[in-house]
Symmetry: C2
Subunit: 221 residues, 2 copies
């Protein structure tokens, strides 16, 4: 079955969410000097392509380790939300009209393609579209998890955060508060259509507020 890598590589100085510490990827040992190659990583639980657990924002929210392993083999549905302008809101009607499939079939996860991964490593990457609160509520009410090819399902603060509306991460709070998972910083979603399986097992990390993942789409031939 064809598989697609939906993950951004973890690299020295890669884009991070505004205010987060920089990512470090540094050679610890090399074959010429030491006889083996090894690489040190300075990352965090929300580096690059990653999963947010409810414990990321919700008091007493579930950590990743509280989910059965099978959760991370998601029955996924592609949603076309391309064509939005920078910092535009993706409303409920646009979200549902982007779904080219039957929601009555067993489903775990909506994977929203905005196309914004094209701007990875540019300032525009952080001027991404975001979901409306009613769209988030609709997803949560259906018991679905949500993935997206932007760094955030809510608007990302600018240098002048007072410009940003709505404040307070309402999409995070609706979905994580309903025990749902978020997968952020996906890439390459234009290769998908309809249904697929997303295999995205989080690293097992003490605390479990989130984890970087290798996100792999497995498509029926």
């Amino acid at each position: 079955m064809p598989s697609y890598d939906l993950s951004h590589p973890i690299a020295d100085g890669m884009p991070v969410y505004p205010g987060d510490p920089p990512v470090g990827v540094e050679t610890l040992a090399s074959i010429g000097t030491d006889g083996y190659h090894q690489t040190a990583l300075r990352i965090d639980t929300h580096t690059g392509t990653h999963i947010d657990a409810p414990a990321h924002m919700i008091d007493d929210g579930r950590s990743l380790s509280a989910f059965p392993l099978e959760t991370f083999r998601f029955a996924g549905q592609h949603v076309d939300c391309t064509g939005f302008k920078p910092r535009a809101e993706i409303g409920l009607e646009k979200l549902t009209s982007g779904i080219d499939g039957d929601l009555s079939e067993a489903l775990d996860l909506l994977v929203v393609e905005t196309g914004w991964d094209d701007y990875w490593e540019t300032d525009r990457y952080f001027e991404h579209p975001f979901l409306s609160t009613d769209a988030a509520k609709w997803v949560a009410d259906r018991g679905l998890h949500l993935g997206i090819d932007t760094p955030n399902v809510d608007p990302t603060p600018t240098a002048n955060a007072a410009d940003d509306e709505p404040a307070g991460y309402p999409v995070h709070r609706h979905l994580l508060g309903a025990g749902r998972l978020l997968v952020e910083n996906l890439r390459g979603l234009s290769r998908l259509a309809g249904r697929f399986e997303l295999q995205a097992y989080p690293l097992s990390i003490q605390g479990g507020d989130g984890a970087p993942v290798r996100a792999v789409a497995v498509v029926e031939a």
Copy 2:
């Protein structure tokens, strides 16, 4: 289908290979103070349950990114090599007699259970059994990858490394030199028997000499 987590959790101060830098898992932000929880990680490409690529020890060896993604859904075969003494050599005959399955069926990976994960977080964990050179050559000649529940397929050096024989990581060199992958620090292999699928996608890391993984066994019901 039942799934088993074969990974050790990544935790502050967890066991590392002798001489490697300590692992750091530290709270970066907490809900009470910051409104969200986030955790900083100081790890390396061979922390905890991880995959070694040929590039770990072989000049111009393949990096993890040079393998097709499908490689990391391994057709696996459990091998019972329990009952060995500390620092004992697992020879070819013991390896092959531990296989309770038909090697003529499509196979990617042997997963060797020594039971040594019981000693995780004790000094004895590093006094593990190791493979003989002829066993390694046999695995490489069959084009198989190798997984094990010890920190090393070769003997791990003691404080007085001159005590250790054989020197020079011959098992690593045979297998990585033949373009094979190694999965080390697996755990909980006693739950397996015969065939299963090991899903162990490495984090996508610049350089690609190795990567930590969430290793998941998927067993036919």
